[in-house]
């Protein structure tokens, strides 16, 4: 996979804070990339630089192998900001056309694309409705369509699911996967970890303007695993635990959550249990959720408190 976007040593300081402080990462073509971080971590500022809204103070952005040129490259970027809105008095069809034309599409091309997308998402009957008559979910759908209908190479979605019901969430999720399969690259910014695990292949975690983690979801989980396992055995006795190569973390009648002691392997555990003639129904490694990793990494900063509540 060739590289679509490369960000190197990007910095943006505002008067009273370092919004983005020396962040580097790269995104390959066709990838679904997660940009994670608590509110105020610098995600939006980072995205605004990638979309050409802000100029970086220093550092470089490379898009499709060339230095990023906001005026021409915005044609290939679709951005759905977190603060998104529509003109209330406009008709839905005209609104979608307008936004497509602002991306640089001719009126004919825009009309063609809008019709196609409206058909796919079953929105044809909305054409002459006014935006103010739409429900929140419906306008979110319209915003999503407006973001992608000029067939951008890079699609940036900032909290795309906020305020969507499960049905529409799934619809958008399926579209994201379909777009990625067709070669679009998706940069997905959120603080909702469970969505990231579901959708993203690679992530970068930022906090207080700095990158604190990046890699594939699987690798990160491996990196932060704590040797926790779920074993399907009856509740162990004191006797059993005394010499066991693991510590009991949580117990229930049929399943035990354990942490394997340092220097011991899974085979050591199994061998020990077999030697004790304990029937084993299941044996499964427990990887930490991104949410847990996240809280572990940023939990002591005030901005991150919200994750513990979530």
């Amino acid at each position: 996979m060739s590289e679509l976007l490369r960000v190197e040593h990007l910095k943006k300081y505002f008067a009273n804070q370092k919004a983005v402080d020396d962040i580097s990462f790269s995104v390959s073509e066709g990838e679904i990339f997660g940009l994670l971080g608590p509110n105020g971590a610098g995600k939006t500022t980072l995205i605004r630089m990638i979309t050409g809204i802000f100029y970086p103070d220093s550092g470089s952005i490379t898009f499709q192998g060339k230095p990023f040129d906001p005026i021409h490259d915005v044609r290939h970027i679709g951005y759905m900001p977190e603060e998104r809105g529509l003109y209330k008095k406009m008709k839905i069809g005209e609104h979608a056309l307008y936004l497509a034309q602002l991306k640089g599409l001719s009126r004919t091309d825009a009309l063609h694309q809008v019709k196609q997308w409206f058909e796919r998402l079953e929105m044809q009957s909305w054409w002459n409705k006014k935006v103010e008559d739409l429900s929140k979910g419906m306008s979110q759908k319209l915003q999503f369509v407006s973001t992608v209908l000029h067939e951008p190479k890079l699609i940036i979605l900032d909290e795309p699911f906020s305020g969507l019901d499960p049905v529409n969430s799934n619809l958008i999720k399926d579209e994201i996967h379909r777009l990625a399969k067709n070669g679009s690259t998706i940069l997905f910014s959120t603080h909702r970890m469970e969505q990231v695990e579901e959708i993203c292949e690679k992530i970068i975690l930022v906090n207080k303007g700095e990158k604190i983690l990046d890699g594939t979801v699987g690798a990160i989980k491996q990196q932060f695993k704590q040797n926790h396992f779920r074993i399907g055995i009856p509740a162990p006795t004191e006797e059993l635990l005394r010499h066991a190569p693991f510590d009991l973390i949580r117990t229930s009648e049929q399943q035990q959550i354990v942490q394997i002691r340092e220097g011991k392997s899974t085979n050591d555990v199994l061998r020990y249990l077999l030697d004790q003639s304990i029937p084993i129904h299941s044996f499964e490694e427990l990887l930490p959720s991104l949410n847990e990793i996240f809280i572990r990494l940023v939990g002591d900063t005030p901005a991150a408190r919200q994750f513990q509540n979530a």
């Binding site: 100029y55 759905m80 900001p81 603060e83 998104r84 809105g85 034309q101 602002l102 640089g104």
Partner: protein, 425 residues
């Protein structure tokens, strides 16, 4: 360019298609003429005859002479009262009068400058001056008789006057009265455009910000394109409204002209318009009007756009921030009134050169004649300064707009906004 054009198109069409645009375009001239003719009609019909009692202690005034004068000017009726004088003094209304004048003993050579028309209601100086004129005509005859001036001599005294009017050497056609009227109309029209359409620009920008569509747009177009698209689009709406009004006027003019001259009121209007068209340099005035309209609109609406981008949805915030800008427009109108009274005075010259007031003040001076009253160099310099001025405000506003449009939270002060302007990007 293409994107700016798309924005202009949207801004223009969404406004022109609105019912309020059509209604206001039709209603404004109706209301305007309604107001003018309605006021004339009311003034004509609400005139009341003022009934004044004259308690004459001087012995100069005779009822026959008063009756003669009452017939000449029926707006008031002055009658001598002697028997019921005490009743009138106590309560003129109960005695059947609106008020009374107590004429003291008079010396015909000195007159008296402290005579009062006393009444229970208050009357303006317009009312009293009619009564004053009436009594003075009688008083003049008394003086003439005392000085033994006969009627032919009186006629000489009255007719032989020196009358001085302004006439411009370099502009034979200059017509000061007409210029004054046209100056006022042009100045006020520009004033209305600046305020009404300027605040429309401000509201439009605020709408984009509160709708949260600003960031969506900014990822497709430059903030400068967004701002200019809005300003030009709304300016085009204003221009459309104007052209429609001018169209109406010419339509009415031609219809009344074609329908013949037998309708007195209509033919009067046609006559006046013909005088207007031939008496002044109409093409130059129209050209200048277009120029100062556009220049002034760009100058002010970019400032209003900057303000709209800086505030949140609160209209009061917008008002307090736009107060200094609105004051500039109002000061311009004050300068214009001075400039019309004295179109070559220093206030008129400076006011028509400085960009913030030149659209209004210069438009009020131009009808007096170019190059008679306004030399060519002044007109040229004024236009150049206005172009530089609006380029300046557009630059200034673009800097504020770029930062403000994505900023939520506390309303910035003018000081903070200036920092946005002079911060390096």
């Amino acid at each position: 360019m293409y994107k700016t054009f798309i924005i202009i198109q949207r801004e223009y069409l969404t406004r022109v298609r609105k019912k309020t645009f059509i209604i206001s375009t039709l209603l404004f001239p109706l209301l305007y003429f309604g107001l003018i003719f309605g006021m004339g009609y009311l003034a004509e019909n609400s005139k009341q005859v003022l009934n004044i009692a004259l308690i004459d202690e001087s012995g100069y005034f005779k009822q026959t002479e008063l009756d003669q004068e009452n017939a000449v000017d029926p707006s008031s009726k002055v009658s001598l009262v002697s028997s019921k004088a005490t009743d009138v003094l106590r309560d003129p209304e109960a005695a059947g009068f609106d008020g009374f004048i107590r004429m003291p003993a008079l010396d015909w050579q000195r007159g008296n400058d402290s005579i009062f028309l006393e009444s229970k209601k208050s009357y303006g100086s317009g009312t009293t001056s009619a009564v004053q004129a009436k009594l003075n005509r009688i008083w003049n005859r008394i003086k003439n008789d005392s000085l033994s001036i006969d009627e032919s001599q009186q006629a000489i005294l009255q007719m032989s006057q020196l009358s001085i009017r302004p006439k411009n050497m370099e502009d034979a056609n200059a017509n000061a009265n007409l210029a004054e009227v046209i100056g006022y109309i042009a100045g006020f029209l520009i004033y209305f455009i600046l305020l009404i359409y300027g605040s429309q620009v401000m509201m439009g920008v605020m709408e984009e910000k509160t709708n949260r569509i600003a960031e969506v747009l900014v990822s497709s177009v430059r903030p400068f394109q967004m701002m200019m698209g809005k300003i030009i689009g709304i300016g085009a709406v204003a221009l459309t409204q104007f052209l429609l009004w001018i169209g109406f006027v010419f339509l009415i003019y031609n219809v009344t002209k074609a329908s013949g001259n037998n309708m007195s009121a209509a033919s009067e209007i046609v006559g006046t318009m013909q005088e207007v068209i031939t008496g002044i340099n109409m093409p130059l005035i129209l050209f200048c009007f277009g120029f100062y309209f556009l220049g002034g609109f760009f100058f002010y609406s970019s400032l209003y756009a900057a303000i709209g981008s800086a505030v949140n949805e609160d209209l009061r915030e917008a008002q307090s921030l736009s107060f200094p800008v609105t004051m500039l427009v109002i000061i311009s109108i004050a300068l214009m009134t001075t400039a019309i009274a004295n179109p070559t005075g220093p206030i008129a010259v400076w006011g028509s050169l400085i960009p913030f007031s030149s659209p209004i003040v210069m438009m009020a001076r131009i009808p007096y004649g170019v190059p008679g009253t306004v030399p060519w160099w002044q007109l040229g310099l004024s236009m150049l300064l206005l172009i530089l001025g609006f380029l300046g405000t557009v630059w200034f506003a673009a800097k504020i707009y770029r930062t403000g449009i994505l900023m939520y939270g506390k309303k910035p002060s003018w000081g903070e906004m200036l920092k946005w302007v002079f911060r390096k990007s």
